[in-house]
């Protein structure tokens, strides 16, 4: 029972569990990010190859995340000095500066709160978990990747675009949608609306699948 509680994962739509943690940029609380979107992501370990490529990829797109009012926050069970040394090493060897803080979660307090330890993968390292948290602190999207598979940062950006577009325009986004493409009009919930839907000027395959362009911003 205790271990079930230990690895309880927060669910989409939940308020993201708050914490205070030591990071490579000082002590931070999750609530410090309120007002901004946040991509919080864990990695298995500093000075490891896949994680290094991921950090470089996140850093290279940091400006794109900023444009979306989105901050980045890394996490692993390594210490703050290890994070600092790794970040400095990445910059020295590749010229890529890591601009975002990294949580030093040695006691796994945050990792346990967010279900970042998957014992089937590793009992000691955090897997590649990604949490997108909105400006109100609500958990909006979770991605889990195994230790061997690096994440696709463009997909994470695409998810933020999709969530922000859905919020702003009250629409949904289809498979493989990218910003600027047509969006899905929410399907009608009664027969009268369903019959009217086909006359509303949308691009429809049928009453339940209609798309529209959004006005250019």
């Amino acid at each position: 029972m205790e271990s079930e509680e230990e690895f309880k994962m927060p669910l989409l739509g939940d308020e993201a569990p708050d914490f205070e943690a030591q990071t490579s940029q000082g002590k931070l609380r999750l609530s410090d990010f309120k007002g901004s979107w946040l991509v919080m992501f864990s990695h298995p370990g500093d000075f490891t190859p896949v994680c290094t490529t991921e950090f470089m990829a996140f850093a290279e797109l940091a400006g794109e995340f900023k444009k979306r009012n989105c901050e980045l926050l890394g996490l692993s069970v390594d210490s703050a000095p290890s994070h600092i040394a790794w970040v400095r090493n990445i910059e020295e060897k590749t010229g890529v500066k890591i601009p975002f803080p990294i949580i030093a979660d040695g006691n796994k307090e945050v990792a346990k709160k967010y279900g970042m330890i998957h014992p089937g993968q590793s009992a000691t390292e955090t897997i590649r978990a990604t949490f997108i948290i909105d400006a109100d602190g609500i958990l909006r999207l979770i991605l889990y990747y195994p230790l061997t598979t690096g994440r696709n940062m463009q997909e994470i950006l695409r998810c933020i675009d999709a969530l922000q577009t859905a919020d702003k325009h009250h629409v949904a986004t289809p498979a493989n949608w990218k910003k600027g493409e047509k969006v899905i009009v929410p399907f009608p919930l009664d027969q009268e609306s369903a019959e009217a839907r086909l006359k509303e000027g949308y691009e429809c395959i049928d009453w339940y699948l209609c798309k529209k362009e959004l006005k250019k911003e």
Binding site: S24, Q25, G26, K27, L28, R29, S31, D32, F33, K34, G35, S36, E71, P101
Partner: protein
């Protein structure tokens, strides 16, 4: 990186926060005025309040006399 170093000196981030808060400001105004992200401003303010370099009143923040000496 903490705002206040073990030798009592403060970081550039802390100086920016204190400089903007010379007149009463909200967190958002300090973030805008210092070009720092909100999360850095909030965490810095916590430390600066503990050190009595900044004071809070009705959700606004003002650099104290002690804080002014650090800029």
């Amino acid at each position: 990186m903490p705002c206040i170093l073990p030798d009592g000196s403060i970081t550039e981030t802390a100086k920016k926060v204190l400089a903007v808060a010379m007149t009463e400001k909200s967190v958002e105004e300090i973030a805008k005025g210092s070009s720092l992200p909100l999360f850095r401003v909030r965490s810095s303010i916590r430390e600066l309040i503990d050190a009595e370099f900044i004071a809070e009143k009705n959700g606004k923040y003002l650099t104290t006399e002690k804080g002014k000496e650090k800029i």
